[in-house]
């Protein structure tokens, strides 16, 4: 564990000489690999520093091995077994209760079922979590027939416990992983024990692990990634050994897993990435390594932490696409080409008239990724938004309101039996089938994109005005070209104003049912937003021809589904009436989430962290910052501190720093997110916070000897630890009904089991 962080600044002043000295000193220190770290000369002059610096690599490896022995000692085994036992028993206890759908189980359970039924769906998260849920259900005999319609539905005879159990098992690993991480970082059983206790007896962590949710899976991968990263760091003095490779690969696998469950996994990737960059920077400064060695290190990390995860991530999607080959509720979000892959979709092995003709009924789909169908409905634009005419929007779902009739400009149907075909340059009218309004635009500004014109439905039964005329233009076509269904990119140019039909991708407010805005753009640049294709084409007078639509390439599907997911994610805007959770609510445990039940007759489960645990965490965050400030000033000023204290400060600053960074990375970005946020988004950060608490409180207890003399300080230390553990245990005893279910009156009534425990008014149990 290099001391070079604090030294590197001083090296700047020491200049060339120190670097030289490093180089000279190194071989000699190599000969004394077990040079005791306890020689206690972390100290005042620059000269000493450079020696330390050079030795650090070997010095710590010795230290590691002795510490490694430590952890093999019996108490450690016992403690670990205890942690494992408690963790599993708290998470698996009453796993089958309540026997109805709780909260987001309605989504993720349903999506698990989709995998079993091989039905295509759309979700804003990557597929791994739901795949694993589906797999767990499949293995435990769930047949995918339960509809998961809404929270509160009874499961009855369906085997739902397998999916819950799977999540709970992964959730049970979290305290164990946290225990191991803290032990590895601080080499202190006390710290590890504190962390494990906080997490095992946190009602929030228990509740979130017990249901069919993505969070336990996500957190499992996050913690696994951090654990393997820490283990990998410990192996740094045996580079390229088998264990070194093992931990490297495991880190990579976990990263892929984390990202494969939710995009929040990006934060842990960032954490590991920063750690790796720092590690490489350290290696670069190690002048005993040749550039070739450093390149090898770099390549190993590129392979293990970038290429491997990427490959796995892509594989996950490949499996996702292969498994889900039937048409389902998510089709409309994707392009026509994508849909043609899905069995049961009307585009799968489609047969329809090949060329667009007058009198046909069609749907028109925007070509931008996740662009919708041209849509209209019996609702007018509200007062103040352009002209008060019928709305025209883009809509992502398949709906009969997406159907339009192609009408000829001017004269009606040609009398002959076969209808005429539409050609490039023809002037047409698009009549909405349901409402018989014409697609219309005029010189009013569009509702959201103010530089564009408003598009409306106008007229009735086909009679409108001059503004209903559109010129069909096939991209790359010439006058007289026919319009191929599905394959031609078509643009609709407005005859009177010269603008082009455009989908801006912006979501309309509530009056527009949160559908996507359609405008007429005066800028004629050819972008996917202004290009459309004809998807459905119904014309009984024309023969149907089977179309073998170009099957899209895998990478195209991958890219498309990502853009659709990201769009979907940012589209999750908070609704006006919905209670909106703010990031600052989370660390103070301001408000939980109702998992099940509202009234006093219901079986209620409320996701809320154990307030004692969370407030201890919050306090130790503050404490941590203060302690680090004090420690670093003391080191910078060169106060003479004992060897043990210096070591503690380094644990605090370096290992604690990693955890603090982890907390920050999993928390701060939420402040910048525009999407709707929930309380459970804080849980990954809470794990890091608990680990930090373990280290901080451990160091604090160890510093008891600053206050008292030797034997008393030990007592104080032990008493402090006992008080801490018991207060956590007791608070768990008080609050456990939150996780394991409450019935009877609500907390503010006298007869409740939770009477007197509603410490904050914002808690809803």
């Amino acid at each position: 564990m290099a001391k070079e962080e604090c030294i590197s600044q001083r090296n700047k002043t020491a200049g060339d000489t120190s670097a030289l000295r490093n180089r000279k000193v190194f071989p000699s220190s190599e000969k004394t690999p077990s040079s005791p770290l306890s020689k206690g000369t972390h100290s005042q002059t620059a000269g000493h520093h450079s020696e330390d610096d050079a030795q650090s690599s070997n010095g710590t490896s010795a230290q590691c091995s002795t510490r490694g022995n430590n952890s093999e000692e019996p108490p450690s085994r016992v403690l670990l077994m205890l942690v494992v036992g408690l963790s599993f028993s708290t998470r698996l206890y009453k796993i089958a209760d309540p026997p109805h759908v709780c909260w987001d189980e309605t989504h993720f359970g349903k999506m698990g079922s989709y995998y079993i039924n091989r039905t295509f769906f759309f979700d804003v998260h990557p597929p791994l979590g739901k795949m694993l849920i589906g797999l767990a259900g499949y293995m435990t005999g769930y047949d995918g027939t339960f509809p998961f319609v809404k929270p509160g539905d009874k499961y009855e005879h369906h085997n739902y416990w397998g999916m819950r159990g799977f999540c709970a098992v992964l959730g049970s690993c979290l305290p164990v992983f946290a225990y191991l991480i803290v032990l590895e970082l601080s080499q202190s059983h006390t710290a590890a024990l504190i962390t494990a206790t906080l997490l095992i007896f946190d009602t929030g962590s228990i509740t979130i692990s017990q249901y069919i949710l993505l969070d336990p899976i996500l957190m499992f991968f996050i913690m696994a990634a951090v654990l393997s990263m820490v283990k990998f760091n410990q192996q740094r003095y045996r580079p390229f050994s088998a264990t070194w490779w093992l931990w490297l690969v495991l880190t990579g696998v976990s990263l892929a897993g984390a990202l494969g469950v939710k995009f929040v996994g990006l934060f842990v990737i960032l954490l590991v990435g920063l750690n790796t960059v720092w590690d490489l920077w350290r290696l670069l400064g190690d002048l005993s390594l040749s550039l070739v060695d450093i390149t090898k290190h770099l390549l190993a990390r590129v392979v293990g932490l970038i290429l491997l995860p990427l490959l796995l991530y892509i594989t996950i999607f490949a499996i996702h696409f292969v498994v889900l080959n039937k048409s389902g509720p998510g089709d409309g979000f994707f392009s026509s080409a994508f849909q043609s892959r899905l069995i049961g979709n009307n585009l799968h092995n489609a047969s329809m008239p090949e060329y667009l003709a007058y009198g046909s009924t069609i749907t028109v789909k925007n070509l931008r990724i996740a662009g919708g169908y041209l849509h209209s409905h019996w609702h007018l634009y509200p007062e103040g938004v352009g002209a008060k005419q019928q709305q025209v929007t883009a809509y992502l779902h398949k709906d009969y309101n997406n159907l339009w009739l192609v009408q000829r400009h001017g004269e009606n149907e040609s009398q002959s039996g076969t209808p005429d075909l539409v050609r490039h340059g023809d002037i047409i009218r698009l009549e909405h089938k349901e409402t018989t309004r014409n697609l219309h635009t005029h010189l009013h500004e569009a509702p959201l994109t103010k530089k564009h014109f408003q598009v409306t439905g106008y007229g009735i039964n086909g009679t409108g005005d001059i503004n209903d005329l559109w010129q069909v233009e096939v991209c790359g076509g010439q006058k007289g070209d026919l319009v191929k269904v599905l394959r031609s990119k078509v643009r609709f140019l407005h005859r009177a104003t010269g603008c082009v039909l455009y989908s801006s991708g912006k979501t309309l407010p509530k009056w527009g049912w949160e559908q996507v805005e359609v405008t007429c753009s005066p800028y004629l640049k050819e972008t996917p937003s202004s290009q459309w294709n004809i998807e459905d084409h119904i014309n009984p007078k024309l023969p149907n021809i089977s179309l073998s639509v170009l099957k899209p390439h895998f990478l195209e599907i991958l890219l498309e589904s990502h853009i659709v997911m990201i769009r979907g994610n940012s589209g999750l805007k908070p609704k006006d009436n919905e209670m909106n959770s703010k990031p600052w609510h989370w660390p103070i445990n301001y408000q939980g989430l109702r998992f099940s039940g509202v009234n006093d007759t219901d079986y209620r489960v409320y996701l809320l962290g154990n307030p004692v645990v969370w407030w201890i965490n919050l306090a130790s965050l503050g404490l941590y910052v203060i302690m680090v400030a004090v420690a670093s000033v003391a080191l910078q000023r060169g106060f003479s501190l004992g060897q043990k204290r210096i070591e503690d400060s380094h644990v605090l600053m370096r290992e604690g720093g990693q955890l603090f960074l982890g907390w920050l990375l999993h928390y701060a970005p939420f402040y910048t997110m525009g999407r709707v946020l929930y309380y459970h988004h804080y849980f990954p950060a809470m794990l890091f916070n608990s680990m930090l608490t373990g280290i901080t409180l451990d160091v604090l207890l160890k510093s008891a000897d600053l206050l008292l003399r030797r034997p008393y300080s030990d007592w104080l230390q032990r008493v402090g630890l006992m008080v801490l553990l018991f207060s956590v245990l007791y608070s768990f005893y008080l609050f456990h009904p939150l996780s394991y279910g409450m019935t009877g009156p609500l907390a503010h009534e006298a007869g409740s089991a939770m009477a007197g425990l509603k410490w904050m008014d914002s808690w809803e149990f």
Binding site: K12, G15, L284, G285, R637
Partner: protein
């Protein structure tokens, strides 16, 4: 690398600095009052300047008050009285407005930036030649010139930011003496000023704090200094860079709040207690007022449109001129306008056409949707009237007047139907504040409407009110709400006048502490959301780097003379290039140093790092945050970031010249260096 011949050099330096300053003053100040019309955002800042002149309280979410205060100070010096309606870009200033003084302070700040950059480069320990280069780059940057020459705030912000960095570095470079803390205080004060002008200044302030804490950290690590001395120095720095700016920042608000003591258009955003502290404020609060408007109610009617300014239906003892300037005739009846300030002439009495009384009967008879009423002006007792006479400024619409019978066969048409447009959401009966009401003229079915056009001098520049056919107008300008309301009790005209003059109800607790006011105003500024409007010239941050966008600031309607904000493409290119070059160089140096190759002596290295911290860091903190912002962005937001790059370019050139090309013969070198810098600048 200094110039040779020390004595001559010193003399030269002063001259160069002087020359550069003079040039800067010339480019920024010459023909300052041209064009004599409202240019771009002057229309926005101008309204606040007017409000300062009238001492009317307002809230602007775009930034803290210091910027507006500075502009208002300029206006004050020029004797501006605030009587100008800032309603459109390109409107000509009347001769009574001293345009020169309105624009003077921003232009001065813009001009002073040039010598500041010169000095700042010196403080970064680069040569006079580089300093000259930086100054020239800034001097000849036409976007900065344009931005400085009008009543806008960017140049003021840039000035304070540069001043803060200059004085901090001067502090850092001066050997210890008590005097150097003067520079530190100046630095803290300029930081406060920068933050006080625009919130963007916060990022530069944070950067400066970062640099300062790095220096302080090194000081703490200096074992040669005694503990006591370290403590004292740390405390001094904290006081100068943290305490002083915070206090000054609060002070700007103190000045702001003590200047603005009259109630105004933004009152309703504030709490009742706050409104109570404003002159003529409190009365508009619902509390204590009767809720339902009844026959005999005394009301003020506020237009729901807040463009260009919120205003109240108003009338006064002055008639429409018999003939307008363009020869059209009027009814010569009493003017009815919309007036943006509280006034006793804003009171109207609701009268039942079937009865004579102007008092509320008991029990009160509430007015409901669809009822027909008459409106009587409280002070003059004229009836609100409309007829088929063209309105003064909008001839397509009907004139609205206070009816005077001139016996010219122009009968009264003073019946109005109450049409509550939000009756679904609210109720069928007319409620104070809550109901949006349209007043439909019974005879012509035209609707009472505020057009937003201001009347000429005969109308005291108040806003025009007309009656218009329903379909043409934007909906909000048709709606009126009752704001102040009381049940009238006096039948006699004299008593009624006295009643109207009295406040609507007794003041509760006028006293509210400055801190409470400060916190409330600050909180409101940060939370009030302006509706996001896409602007014709708005742009995205990425377009700024490549300068793909410009802004037309002003266009003369007849001569087609124009002013555009667009950067100097050469200096823009140089700036981008040097930004890239610095990053590349820094990466190479860092990697090589890590491997033990010290390309630069330590002094030079720290100079190089300092340059990067200030210039590249300054660019980053003034540019990257825009990506996270959801407000409408314009090219001029990039100007502060650009200044940092102009600071960087010559310094980097000098660095390259002295340290990378050191093997080339010195003589030819100085030459090429000079050439490079000069050619770049020109």
């Amino acid at each position: 690398m200094m110039l040779q011949l020390p004595l001559v050099v010193t003399a030269q330096v002063d001259l160069v600095l002087l020359l550069v300053s003079l040039l800067a003053l010339w480019t920024r100040l010459s023909r300052l009052s041209y064009p004599n019309a409202v240019v771009f955002d002057e229309v926005y800042y101008g309204q606040f300047v007017s409000l300062y002149m009238k001492r009317v309280f307002f809230i602007d979410d775009s930034g803290p008050p210091l910027g507006h205060l500075i502009l208002a100070f300029g206006a004050y010096l020029g004797g501006f009285d605030g009587n100008f309606v800032w309603n459109r870009i390109g409107a000509e200033y009347p001769s009574s407005v001293s345009v020169w003084s309105l624009r003077l302070l921003p232009a001065l700040c813009g001009a002073l930036c040039v010598p500041l950059v010169y000095l700042l480069t010196l403080e970064l320990r680069f040569s006079h030649l580089s300093a000259l280069g930086a100054a020239l780059l800034l001097l000849l940057e036409n976007s900065l010139i344009v931005q400085s020459r009008f009543m806008l705030l960017e140049s003021v912000l840039i000035f304070f930011v540069l001043l803060a960095f200059f004085s901090y570095l001067r502090f850092h470079n001066t050997p210890s003496s008590c005097f150097r803390y003067g520079w530190l205080i100046l630095s803290g004060a300029s930081c406060a000023a920068a933050v006080g002008v625009k919130y963007m200044g916060v990022f530069s302030y944070l950067l400066l704090l970062g640099v300062a804490s790095l220096h302080t950290w090194n000081l703490i690590g200096d074992r040669g200094v005694s503990h006591l001395s370290v403590c004292v120095q740390c405390v001094c720095r904290v006081v100068c860079l943290l305490v002083v700016p915070v206090l000054l920042y609060v002070f700007w608000f103190y000045v702001h709040l003590s200047l603005l003591h009259r109630s105004g258009p933004h009152d309703q955003l504030m709490s009742s207690a706050f409104q109570a502290s404003l002159e003529g404020g409190l009365s508009r609060i619902t509390q204590g007022q009767p809720l339902e408007v009844a026959y005999g109610s005394q009301v003020t009617l506020r237009s729901s449109a807040s463009q260009p300014v919120p205003c109240w239906l108003h009338s006064h003892k002055a008639n429409y001129p018999i003939r307008y300037e363009n020869g059209r005739g009027s009814s010569h009846q009493q003017q009815v306008t919309c007036y943006p300030f509280k006034d006793v002439n804003n009171w109207w009495i609701i009268k039942d056409p079937g009865r004579q009384e102007l008092v509320v009967s008991s029990p009160p008879r509430p007015v409901r949707h669809g009822d027909v009423i008459q409106l009587v002006h409280g002070m003059t007792s004229r009836f609100l009237n409309s007829h088929d006479v063209a309105a003064p400024m909008s001839p397509h619409a009907q004139e609205v007047s206070g009816y005077i019978d001139f016996n010219v066969s122009m009968p009264t048409q003073n019946l109005w139907r109450v049409d509550i447009s939000n009756r679904e959401a609210e109720s069928e009966s007319w409620k104070t504040i809550l109901s949006d009401v349209r007043l439909v003229h019974v005879n012509t079915s035209a609707v009472l409407r505020m057009t937003g056009v201001s009347l000429p001098d005969w109308g005291f520049r108040q806003l025009e009110v007309v009656a218009d056919k329903l379909f043409k107008a934007q909906s909000s300008s048709l709606d009126w709400t009752v704001e102040e309301h009381r049940y009238g009790t006096s039948q006699e005209q004299k008593e009624r006048e006295a009643e109207l003059h009295s406040p609507t109800h007794i003041d509760v607790n006028r006293k509210i502490s400055f801190w409470a006011k400060f916190l409330e105003v600050q909180w409101k500024m940060l939370t009030v959301k302006q509706e996001d409007s896409e602007h014709k010239y708005s742009s995205s941050p990425l377009e700024w780097i490549t300068m793909e966008t410009n802004i037309a600031y002003w266009l003369h309607s007849s001569t087609n003379a124009q002013i555009h904000l667009i950067g100097n493409p050469v200096s823009w290119g140089v700036a981008n290039l040097s930004l890239l070059a610095y990053q590349l160089l820094a990466a190479v140096y860092l990697l090589r140093r890590r491997r033990g190759f010290k390309d630069l002596p330590d002094g030079v290295w720290s100079q190089f790092v300092c340059l990067g911290c200030v210039c590249v860091g300054g660019w980053v903190v003034n540019f990257v945050p825009f990506f996270l912002m959801e407000k409408t962005l314009f090219l001029y937001h990039y100007l502060p970031a650009l200044c940092y790059l102009h600071l960087l370019s010559p310094a980097l050139l000098e660095h390259t010249h002295t340290h990378l090309l050191r093997y080339v013969h010195t003589h030819t070198h100085t030459h090429t260096h000079t050439h490079c810098i000069l050619s770049l600048s020109c």
